[in-house]
Symmetry: C2
Subunit: 254 residues, 2 copies
Protein backbone atom coordinates (compact mmCIF):
# COMPACT_ATOMS: atom_id res chain seq x y z
CA UNK A 1 0.00 0.00 0.00
CA UNK A 2 2.82 2.34 0.88
CA UNK A 3 4.44 1.61 -2.47
CA UNK A 4 1.12 2.10 -4.19
CA UNK A 5 0.63 5.41 -2.44
CA UNK A 6 4.12 6.53 -3.35
CA UNK A 7 3.48 5.78 -6.98
CA UNK A 8 0.08 7.43 -6.86
CA UNK A 9 1.63 10.47 -5.24
CA UNK A 10 4.36 10.56 -7.85
CA UNK A 11 1.82 10.17 -10.63
CA UNK A 12 -0.35 12.91 -9.12
CA UNK A 13 2.67 15.14 -8.70
CA UNK A 14 3.76 14.57 -12.29
CA UNK A 15 0.26 15.19 -13.57
CA UNK A 16 0.20 18.44 -11.61
CA UNK A 17 3.58 19.73 -12.69
CA UNK A 18 3.24 18.54 -16.28
CA UNK A 19 1.21 21.60 -17.44
CA UNK A 20 3.68 23.89 -15.65
CA UNK A 21 6.58 22.14 -17.37
CA UNK A 22 4.73 22.32 -20.67
CA UNK A 23 4.05 25.99 -20.11
CA UNK A 24 7.66 26.79 -19.35
CA UNK A 25 8.76 24.70 -22.33
CA UNK A 26 6.26 26.57 -24.48
CA UNK A 27 7.55 29.90 -23.21
CA UNK A 28 11.10 28.79 -23.86
CA UNK A 29 10.17 27.80 -27.40
CA UNK A 30 7.87 30.68 -28.28
CA UNK A 31 10.00 33.54 -27.00
CA UNK A 32 12.72 33.08 -29.59
CA UNK A 33 10.10 32.12 -32.19
CA UNK A 34 8.36 35.45 -31.71
CA UNK A 35 11.63 37.19 -32.46
CA UNK A 36 12.56 34.60 -35.00
CA UNK A 37 12.63 35.60 -38.63
CA UNK A 38 13.49 32.84 -41.04
CA UNK A 39 16.27 33.50 -43.52
CA UNK A 40 13.63 33.34 -46.24
CA UNK A 41 11.40 35.95 -44.64
CA UNK A 42 14.41 38.17 -44.00
CA UNK A 43 15.44 37.95 -47.64
CA UNK A 44 11.90 38.35 -49.00
CA UNK A 45 11.30 41.38 -46.76
CA UNK A 46 14.47 42.94 -48.21
CA UNK A 47 13.49 41.93 -51.72
CA UNK A 48 10.12 43.64 -51.20
CA UNK A 49 11.90 46.77 -49.92
CA UNK A 50 14.02 46.86 -53.07
CA UNK A 51 10.99 46.32 -55.32
CA UNK A 52 8.80 48.91 -53.62
CA UNK A 53 11.51 51.58 -53.65
CA UNK A 54 12.31 50.77 -57.31
CA UNK A 55 15.87 49.83 -56.36
CA UNK A 56 15.34 46.46 -58.06
CA UNK A 57 14.71 48.04 -61.46
CA UNK A 58 13.13 45.76 -64.03
CA UNK A 59 12.05 42.25 -62.97
CA UNK A 60 9.78 39.65 -64.50
CA UNK A 61 8.75 37.20 -61.77
CA UNK A 62 8.98 37.11 -57.99
CA UNK A 63 11.81 35.00 -56.55
CA UNK A 64 10.72 31.38 -56.21
CA UNK A 65 11.64 31.32 -52.53
CA UNK A 66 9.30 34.28 -51.92
CA UNK A 67 6.10 32.74 -53.34
CA UNK A 68 4.70 31.83 -49.91
CA UNK A 69 5.88 35.17 -48.54
CA UNK A 70 4.09 37.16 -51.28
CA UNK A 71 0.98 35.00 -50.86
CA UNK A 72 0.97 35.67 -47.11
CA UNK A 73 1.58 39.39 -47.68
CA UNK A 74 -1.18 39.76 -50.27
CA UNK A 75 -3.83 37.61 -48.59
CA UNK A 76 -3.10 38.49 -44.96
CA UNK A 77 -3.47 41.79 -43.15
CA UNK A 78 -0.35 43.49 -44.47
CA UNK A 79 -1.42 44.40 -48.00
CA UNK A 80 -4.64 45.90 -46.63
CA UNK A 81 -2.79 47.73 -43.88
CA UNK A 82 -0.17 49.17 -46.25
CA UNK A 83 -2.89 50.30 -48.67
CA UNK A 84 -4.82 51.99 -45.85
CA UNK A 85 -1.76 53.93 -44.69
CA UNK A 86 -1.10 55.12 -48.28
CA UNK A 87 -4.73 56.30 -48.52
CA UNK A 88 -4.33 58.08 -45.16
CA UNK A 89 -1.13 59.80 -46.37
CA UNK A 90 -2.91 60.85 -49.57
CA UNK A 91 -5.91 62.25 -47.74
CA UNK A 92 -3.81 64.06 -45.18
CA UNK A 93 -2.03 65.82 -48.03
CA UNK A 94 -5.24 66.42 -50.07
CA UNK A 95 -6.74 68.31 -47.13
CA UNK A 96 -3.86 70.83 -47.28
CA UNK A 97 -4.32 71.55 -51.01
CA UNK A 98 -5.44 75.04 -52.00
CA UNK A 99 -8.03 74.50 -54.70
CA UNK A 100 -7.62 76.49 -57.91
CA UNK A 101 -10.82 75.46 -59.72
CA UNK A 102 -8.89 73.13 -62.04
CA UNK A 103 -7.74 70.55 -59.53
CA UNK A 104 -6.85 67.07 -60.69
CA UNK A 105 -5.93 63.74 -59.12
CA UNK A 106 -4.77 60.95 -61.38
CA UNK A 107 -5.43 57.33 -60.49
CA UNK A 108 -4.01 54.27 -62.15
CA UNK A 109 -6.53 51.39 -62.39
CA UNK A 110 -5.02 47.91 -61.85
CA UNK A 111 -3.74 47.30 -58.30
CA UNK A 112 -4.67 50.93 -57.56
CA UNK A 113 -8.45 51.20 -57.84
CA UNK A 114 -9.19 47.61 -58.84
CA UNK A 115 -7.55 44.57 -57.31
CA UNK A 116 -6.64 41.67 -59.55
CA UNK A 117 -5.76 39.58 -56.54
CA UNK A 118 -8.36 36.90 -57.43
CA UNK A 119 -6.56 36.45 -60.76
CA UNK A 120 -3.08 36.42 -59.27
CA UNK A 121 -4.14 34.02 -56.52
CA UNK A 122 -5.03 31.57 -59.29
CA UNK A 123 -1.79 32.27 -61.14
CA UNK A 124 1.02 31.98 -58.61
CA UNK A 125 1.04 35.49 -57.10
CA UNK A 126 3.49 36.82 -59.68
CA UNK A 127 5.66 33.70 -59.85
CA UNK A 128 4.55 32.97 -63.41
CA UNK A 129 5.59 34.98 -66.47
CA UNK A 130 2.87 37.48 -67.45
CA UNK A 131 0.36 35.83 -69.79
CA UNK A 132 -1.39 38.58 -71.73
CA UNK A 133 -4.16 36.40 -73.12
CA UNK A 134 -4.99 34.88 -69.76
CA UNK A 135 -4.97 38.27 -68.02
CA UNK A 136 -7.12 39.84 -70.74
CA UNK A 137 -9.66 37.05 -70.31
CA UNK A 138 -9.84 37.99 -66.64
CA UNK A 139 -10.25 41.69 -67.56
CA UNK A 140 -13.15 40.75 -69.88
CA UNK A 141 -15.00 39.32 -66.90
CA UNK A 142 -15.16 42.78 -65.21
CA UNK A 143 -15.07 41.10 -61.82
CA UNK A 144 -12.09 42.74 -60.10
CA UNK A 145 -13.07 44.04 -56.66
CA UNK A 146 -12.09 47.53 -55.48
CA UNK A 147 -9.14 48.23 -53.25
CA UNK A 148 -11.25 49.47 -50.32
CA UNK A 149 -8.66 52.03 -49.16
CA UNK A 150 -8.50 53.55 -52.64
CA UNK A 151 -12.30 53.66 -52.94
CA UNK A 152 -12.43 55.59 -49.66
CA UNK A 153 -9.76 58.02 -50.93
CA UNK A 154 -11.48 58.35 -54.31
CA UNK A 155 -14.82 59.26 -52.76
CA UNK A 156 -13.31 61.74 -50.32
CA UNK A 157 -11.35 63.49 -53.08
CA UNK A 158 -14.54 63.86 -55.13
CA UNK A 159 -16.32 65.32 -52.11
CA UNK A 160 -13.51 67.87 -51.80
CA UNK A 161 -14.16 68.98 -55.37
CA UNK A 162 -11.03 67.49 -56.88
CA UNK A 163 -11.50 66.21 -60.44
CA UNK A 164 -10.57 62.57 -60.82
CA UNK A 165 -8.85 61.23 -63.94
CA UNK A 166 -8.14 57.58 -64.58
CA UNK A 167 -5.00 56.64 -66.49
CA UNK A 168 -4.49 52.98 -67.27
CA UNK A 169 -2.17 50.88 -69.40
CA UNK A 170 -5.18 48.84 -70.53
CA UNK A 171 -6.05 49.06 -74.22
CA UNK A 172 -8.79 51.19 -75.76
CA UNK A 173 -10.70 48.06 -76.81
CA UNK A 174 -11.08 47.24 -73.09
CA UNK A 175 -12.92 50.51 -72.35
CA UNK A 176 -16.38 49.00 -71.92
CA UNK A 177 -15.35 46.14 -69.65
CA UNK A 178 -13.12 48.49 -67.65
CA UNK A 179 -15.89 51.04 -67.13
CA UNK A 180 -18.33 48.28 -66.24
CA UNK A 181 -15.88 46.84 -63.70
CA UNK A 182 -15.12 50.25 -62.16
CA UNK A 183 -18.81 51.06 -61.76
CA UNK A 184 -19.57 47.65 -60.26
CA UNK A 185 -16.68 48.09 -57.82
CA UNK A 186 -18.19 51.39 -56.63
CA UNK A 187 -16.24 54.03 -58.59
CA UNK A 188 -18.12 56.74 -60.44
CA UNK A 189 -17.97 60.32 -61.70
CA UNK A 190 -14.45 60.21 -63.07
CA UNK A 191 -13.89 63.03 -65.55
CA UNK A 192 -12.03 60.96 -68.13
CA UNK A 193 -10.64 57.46 -68.47
CA UNK A 194 -7.43 57.33 -70.52
CA UNK A 195 -6.61 54.00 -72.18
CA UNK A 196 -3.83 53.14 -74.62
CA UNK A 197 -4.92 54.09 -78.12
CA UNK A 198 -3.33 52.99 -81.38
CA UNK A 199 -0.70 55.75 -81.19
CA UNK A 200 0.30 54.68 -77.65
CA UNK A 201 1.21 51.12 -78.56
CA UNK A 202 4.76 50.11 -77.74
CA UNK A 203 5.43 53.15 -75.56
CA UNK A 204 6.89 52.59 -72.11
CA UNK A 205 4.20 53.14 -69.48
CA UNK A 206 6.11 56.06 -67.95
CA UNK A 207 6.22 57.83 -71.36
CA UNK A 208 2.59 57.13 -72.26
CA UNK A 209 1.43 58.23 -68.82
CA UNK A 210 3.60 61.36 -68.81
CA UNK A 211 2.10 62.36 -72.17
CA UNK A 212 -1.43 61.97 -70.87
CA UNK A 213 -0.67 63.92 -67.71
CA UNK A 214 0.84 66.64 -69.90
CA UNK A 215 -2.49 66.87 -71.76
CA UNK A 216 -4.15 67.67 -68.43
CA UNK A 217 -1.53 70.29 -67.59
CA UNK A 218 -2.01 71.81 -71.06
CA UNK A 219 -5.75 72.02 -70.30
CA UNK A 220 -4.89 74.09 -67.22
CA UNK A 221 -5.23 71.42 -64.57
CA UNK A 222 -3.02 71.38 -61.50
CA UNK A 223 -2.27 67.71 -60.82
CA UNK A 224 -2.14 67.75 -57.04
CA UNK A 225 -1.82 64.03 -56.57
CA UNK A 226 -1.18 60.83 -58.44
CA UNK A 227 -1.79 57.30 -57.13
CA UNK A 228 -0.31 54.17 -58.63
CA UNK A 229 1.21 50.82 -57.72
CA UNK A 230 4.05 51.20 -60.27
CA UNK A 231 6.77 53.86 -60.33
CA UNK A 232 5.96 54.20 -64.04
CA UNK A 233 2.55 55.54 -62.94
CA UNK A 234 4.25 58.33 -61.03
CA UNK A 235 7.54 59.31 -62.67
CA UNK A 236 8.56 60.94 -65.95
CA UNK A 237 7.27 64.46 -66.61
CA UNK A 238 4.14 66.45 -65.79
CA UNK A 239 4.39 64.65 -62.47
CA UNK A 240 1.93 65.43 -59.71
CA UNK A 241 2.81 67.69 -56.80
CA UNK A 242 2.71 64.57 -54.62
CA UNK A 243 2.91 60.98 -55.79
CA UNK A 244 1.61 58.02 -53.83
CA UNK A 245 3.09 54.59 -54.39
CA UNK A 246 0.72 51.78 -53.56
CA UNK A 247 2.12 48.37 -52.66
CA UNK A 248 2.52 45.71 -55.33
CA UNK A 249 5.07 42.94 -54.85
CA UNK A 250 3.50 40.78 -57.62
CA UNK A 251 4.59 42.40 -60.87
CA UNK A 252 6.60 45.20 -62.46
CA UNK A 253 5.73 47.49 -65.39
CA UNK A 254 8.47 49.65 -66.92
Amino acid sequence: MASDQTHLTLLLLFTLISPILSHSIIQQFTKPLLHFTSANTLYCDSWRFSVETNDAGSWSTIPEKCIDYVKDYMTGDRYTSDSEVVADDSLEYAKTVELTGKDAWVFDVDETLLSNLPYYADNGFGSQIYDEESFNNWVEMSEAPSLPASLRLYNELEEMGITVFLLTGRDEYQRNVTEKNLLQAGFSNWKKLFLRGTSDKGKAASVYKSEKRMELVDEGYVIHGCSGDQWSDLSGYAVATRSFKLPNPMYYIA
Copy 2:
Protein backbone atom coordinates in the same frame (compact mmCIF):
# COMPACT_ATOMS: atom_id res chain seq x y z
CA MET B 1 2.38 -5.98 -6.88
CA ALA B 2 -0.08 -5.97 -9.75
CA SER B 3 -1.26 -2.56 -8.63
CA ASP B 4 2.35 -1.39 -8.26
CA GLN B 5 3.11 -2.59 -11.75
CA THR B 6 0.01 -0.90 -13.12
CA HIS B 7 1.04 2.39 -11.55
CA LEU B 8 4.59 2.00 -12.71
CA THR B 9 3.35 1.23 -16.21
CA LEU B 10 1.06 4.27 -16.11
CA LEU B 11 3.88 6.44 -14.84
CA LEU B 12 6.22 5.14 -17.51
CA LEU B 13 3.55 5.64 -20.16
CA PHE B 14 2.89 9.18 -18.97
CA THR B 15 6.58 9.96 -18.89
CA LEU B 16 6.87 8.66 -22.43
CA ILE B 17 3.92 10.53 -23.88
CA SER B 18 4.56 13.72 -21.92
CA PRO B 19 7.17 15.06 -24.39
CA ILE B 20 4.86 14.19 -27.28
CA LEU B 21 2.01 16.04 -25.59
CA SER B 22 4.34 18.95 -24.87
CA HIS B 23 5.48 18.94 -28.47
CA SER B 24 1.95 18.99 -29.84
CA ILE B 25 0.99 21.69 -27.35
CA ILE B 26 4.04 23.69 -28.42
CA GLN B 27 3.10 23.26 -32.06
CA GLN B 28 -0.42 24.33 -31.31
CA PHE B 29 0.85 27.44 -29.56
CA THR B 30 3.65 28.38 -31.91
CA LYS B 31 1.83 27.97 -35.21
CA PRO B 32 -0.47 30.93 -34.68
CA LEU B 33 2.37 32.84 -32.97
CA LEU B 34 4.55 32.45 -36.04
CA HIS B 35 1.79 33.95 -38.14
CA PHE B 36 0.91 36.42 -35.46
CA THR B 37 1.61 40.06 -36.11
CA SER B 38 0.71 42.48 -33.37
CA ALA B 39 -1.42 45.46 -34.32
CA ASN B 40 1.58 47.66 -33.54
CA THR B 41 3.95 45.75 -35.80
CA LEU B 42 1.34 45.74 -38.55
CA TYR B 43 0.95 49.51 -38.28
CA CYS B 44 4.69 50.20 -37.98
CA ASP B 45 5.44 47.98 -40.98
CA SER B 46 2.93 50.02 -42.99
CA TRP B 47 4.31 53.27 -41.62
CA ARG B 48 7.79 52.17 -42.73
CA PHE B 49 6.44 51.32 -46.19
CA SER B 50 4.96 54.81 -46.47
CA VAL B 51 8.19 56.45 -45.27
CA GLU B 52 10.50 54.44 -47.53
CA THR B 53 8.36 55.04 -50.63
CA ASN B 54 8.09 58.76 -49.76
CA ASP B 55 4.29 58.48 -49.53
CA ALA B 56 4.48 59.95 -46.03
CA GLY B 57 6.00 63.21 -47.27
CA SER B 58 7.57 65.38 -44.57
CA TRP B 59 7.76 64.04 -41.02
CA SER B 60 9.76 65.06 -37.96
CA THR B 61 9.81 62.12 -35.53
CA ILE B 62 8.90 58.45 -35.71
CA PRO B 63 5.50 57.50 -34.22
CA GLU B 64 5.82 56.87 -30.49
CA LYS B 65 4.26 53.43 -30.82
CA CYS B 66 6.97 52.48 -33.34
CA ILE B 67 10.03 53.23 -31.17
CA ASP B 68 10.59 49.58 -30.24
CA TYR B 69 9.84 48.55 -33.81
CA VAL B 70 12.43 50.96 -35.28
CA LYS B 71 14.95 49.91 -32.64
CA ASP B 72 14.42 46.24 -33.53
CA TYR B 73 14.63 47.02 -37.23
CA MET B 74 17.84 49.06 -36.95
CA THR B 75 19.69 46.86 -34.47
CA GLY B 76 18.49 43.45 -35.69
CA ASP B 77 19.13 41.69 -38.98
CA ARG B 78 16.68 43.60 -41.12
CA TYR B 79 18.52 46.90 -41.62
CA THR B 80 21.66 45.01 -42.60
CA SER B 81 19.73 42.68 -44.89
CA ASP B 82 17.88 45.54 -46.62
CA SER B 83 21.16 47.44 -47.10
CA GLU B 84 22.84 44.36 -48.59
CA VAL B 85 20.03 43.84 -51.11
CA VAL B 86 20.25 47.51 -52.17
CA ALA B 87 24.02 47.11 -52.69
CA ASP B 88 23.37 43.93 -54.70
CA ASP B 89 20.81 45.76 -56.88
CA SER B 90 23.29 48.60 -57.39
CA LEU B 91 26.12 46.29 -58.36
CA GLU B 92 23.98 44.21 -60.67
CA TYR B 93 23.09 47.40 -62.53
CA ALA B 94 26.66 48.81 -62.44
CA LYS B 95 27.93 45.68 -64.20
CA THR B 96 25.65 46.45 -67.18
CA VAL B 97 26.90 50.04 -67.58
CA GLU B 98 28.81 50.89 -70.74
CA LEU B 99 31.69 53.05 -69.61
CA THR B 100 32.23 56.34 -71.44
CA GLY B 101 35.46 57.49 -69.74
CA LYS B 102 33.55 60.07 -67.67
CA ASP B 103 31.52 57.75 -65.48
CA ALA B 104 30.23 58.95 -62.15
CA TRP B 105 28.46 57.49 -59.16
CA VAL B 106 27.20 59.87 -56.46
CA PHE B 107 27.01 58.77 -52.84
CA ASP B 108 25.36 60.58 -49.99
CA VAL B 109 27.31 60.27 -46.71
CA ASP B 110 25.11 59.92 -43.58
CA GLU B 111 23.14 56.65 -43.43
CA THR B 112 24.57 55.87 -46.88
CA LEU B 113 28.34 55.44 -46.46
CA LEU B 114 28.55 56.20 -42.74
CA SER B 115 26.13 54.91 -40.14
CA ASN B 116 25.10 57.21 -37.31
CA LEU B 117 23.33 54.36 -35.61
CA PRO B 118 25.51 54.68 -32.45
CA TYR B 119 24.29 58.28 -32.13
CA TYR B 120 20.65 57.47 -32.82
CA ALA B 121 20.73 54.49 -30.45
CA ASP B 122 21.63 56.99 -27.71
CA ASN B 123 18.96 59.42 -28.87
CA GLY B 124 15.74 57.45 -29.21
CA PHE B 125 16.11 56.05 -32.77
CA GLY B 126 14.44 59.09 -34.34
CA SER B 127 11.79 59.59 -31.67
CA GLN B 128 13.37 62.85 -30.53
CA ILE B 129 13.28 66.11 -32.51
CA TYR B 130 16.54 66.62 -34.44
CA ASP B 131 19.06 68.41 -32.22
CA GLU B 132 21.62 70.05 -34.51
CA GLU B 133 24.14 70.85 -31.77
CA SER B 134 24.07 67.36 -30.33
CA PHE B 135 24.36 65.75 -33.77
CA ASN B 136 27.22 68.06 -34.77
CA ASN B 137 29.08 67.09 -31.61
CA TRP B 138 28.76 63.48 -32.72
CA VAL B 139 30.02 64.41 -36.22
CA GLU B 140 33.05 66.14 -34.64
CA MET B 141 34.06 62.81 -33.09
CA SER B 142 34.56 61.22 -36.56
CA GLU B 143 33.54 57.86 -35.12
CA ALA B 144 30.68 56.78 -37.36
CA PRO B 145 31.26 53.24 -38.68
CA SER B 146 30.75 52.35 -42.33
CA LEU B 147 27.63 50.72 -43.67
CA PRO B 148 29.38 47.49 -44.70
CA ALA B 149 27.14 46.89 -47.74
CA SER B 150 27.89 50.38 -49.06
CA LEU B 151 31.63 49.97 -48.48
CA ARG B 152 31.52 46.78 -50.54
CA LEU B 153 29.63 48.58 -53.34
CA TYR B 154 31.96 51.60 -53.15
CA ASN B 155 35.07 49.48 -53.54
CA GLU B 156 33.64 47.42 -56.39
CA LEU B 157 32.57 50.55 -58.29
CA GLU B 158 36.07 51.98 -57.98
CA GLU B 159 37.52 48.73 -59.26
CA MET B 160 35.22 49.01 -62.28
CA GLY B 161 36.70 52.42 -63.05
CA ILE B 162 33.66 54.44 -62.05
CA THR B 163 34.51 57.82 -60.50
CA VAL B 164 33.01 58.28 -57.07
CA PHE B 165 31.66 61.63 -55.87
CA LEU B 166 30.40 62.28 -52.36
CA LEU B 167 27.54 64.73 -51.89
CA THR B 168 26.50 65.50 -48.34
CA GLY B 169 24.25 67.95 -46.56
CA ARG B 170 26.99 68.45 -43.96
CA ASP B 171 28.52 71.92 -43.80
CA GLU B 172 31.83 72.98 -45.33
CA TYR B 173 33.28 73.57 -41.83
CA GLN B 174 32.84 69.85 -41.18
CA ARG B 175 35.08 68.85 -44.12
CA ASN B 176 38.06 67.74 -42.04
CA VAL B 177 36.15 65.62 -39.56
CA THR B 178 34.08 64.14 -42.37
CA GLU B 179 37.14 63.19 -44.42
CA LYS B 180 38.82 61.77 -41.32
CA ASN B 181 35.74 59.71 -40.51
CA LEU B 182 35.36 58.42 -44.08
CA LEU B 183 39.01 57.36 -44.24
CA GLN B 184 38.85 55.66 -40.85
CA ALA B 185 35.70 53.81 -41.94
CA GLY B 186 37.55 52.46 -44.97
CA PHE B 187 36.51 54.80 -47.80
CA SER B 188 39.17 56.36 -50.02
CA ASN B 189 39.91 57.71 -53.48
CA TRP B 190 36.73 59.71 -53.96
CA LYS B 191 37.16 62.33 -56.66
CA LYS B 192 35.43 65.14 -54.79
CA LEU B 193 33.50 65.65 -51.58
CA PHE B 194 30.74 68.25 -51.89
CA LEU B 195 29.63 69.95 -48.67
CA ARG B 196 27.20 72.84 -48.18
CA GLY B 197 29.03 76.10 -48.70
CA THR B 198 27.90 79.58 -47.71
CA SER B 199 25.83 79.94 -50.90
CA ASP B 200 24.04 76.64 -50.25
CA LYS B 201 22.68 77.59 -46.85
CA GLY B 202 18.90 77.41 -46.55
CA LYS B 203 18.43 75.49 -49.78
CA ALA B 204 16.30 72.35 -49.69
CA ALA B 205 18.54 69.30 -49.91
CA SER B 206 16.94 68.21 -53.21
CA VAL B 207 17.78 71.62 -54.76
CA TYR B 208 21.32 71.81 -53.37
CA LYS B 209 22.04 68.24 -54.45
CA SER B 210 20.52 68.73 -57.93
CA GLU B 211 22.75 71.78 -58.43
CA LYS B 212 25.86 69.84 -57.51
CA ARG B 213 24.92 66.91 -59.76
CA MET B 214 24.36 69.43 -62.55
CA GLU B 215 27.94 70.64 -62.07
CA LEU B 216 29.11 67.08 -62.76
CA VAL B 217 26.91 66.81 -65.85
CA ASP B 218 28.28 70.17 -67.05
CA GLU B 219 31.79 68.74 -66.64
CA GLY B 220 30.80 65.92 -69.00
CA TYR B 221 30.16 63.17 -66.48
CA VAL B 222 27.47 60.59 -67.02
CA ILE B 223 25.95 59.94 -63.60
CA HIS B 224 25.14 56.27 -63.88
CA GLY B 225 24.07 55.77 -60.30
CA CYS B 226 23.19 57.64 -57.17
CA SER B 227 22.88 56.14 -53.68
CA GLY B 228 21.15 57.81 -50.77
CA ASP B 229 18.90 57.11 -47.81
CA GLN B 230 16.68 60.14 -48.54
CA TRP B 231 14.56 60.78 -51.62
CA SER B 232 16.06 64.29 -51.59
CA ASP B 233 19.41 62.61 -52.36
CA LEU B 234 17.96 61.12 -55.53
CA SER B 235 15.24 63.38 -56.96
CA GLY B 236 15.14 66.83 -58.55
CA TYR B 237 17.14 67.31 -61.74
CA ALA B 238 20.40 65.99 -63.20
CA VAL B 239 19.22 62.73 -61.67
CA ALA B 240 21.27 59.59 -62.16
CA THR B 241 20.32 56.94 -64.72
CA ARG B 242 19.45 54.71 -61.76
CA SER B 243 18.79 55.79 -58.20
CA PHE B 244 19.16 53.54 -55.17
CA LYS B 245 17.19 54.28 -52.05
CA LEU B 246 18.82 52.96 -48.90
CA PRO B 247 16.66 52.24 -45.87
CA ASN B 248 16.26 54.87 -43.17
CA PRO B 249 13.20 54.80 -40.92
CA MET B 250 14.80 57.18 -38.36
CA TYR B 251 14.63 60.62 -39.96
CA TYR B 252 13.48 62.63 -42.96
CA ILE B 253 15.26 65.39 -44.88
CA ALA B 254 13.29 67.45 -47.41
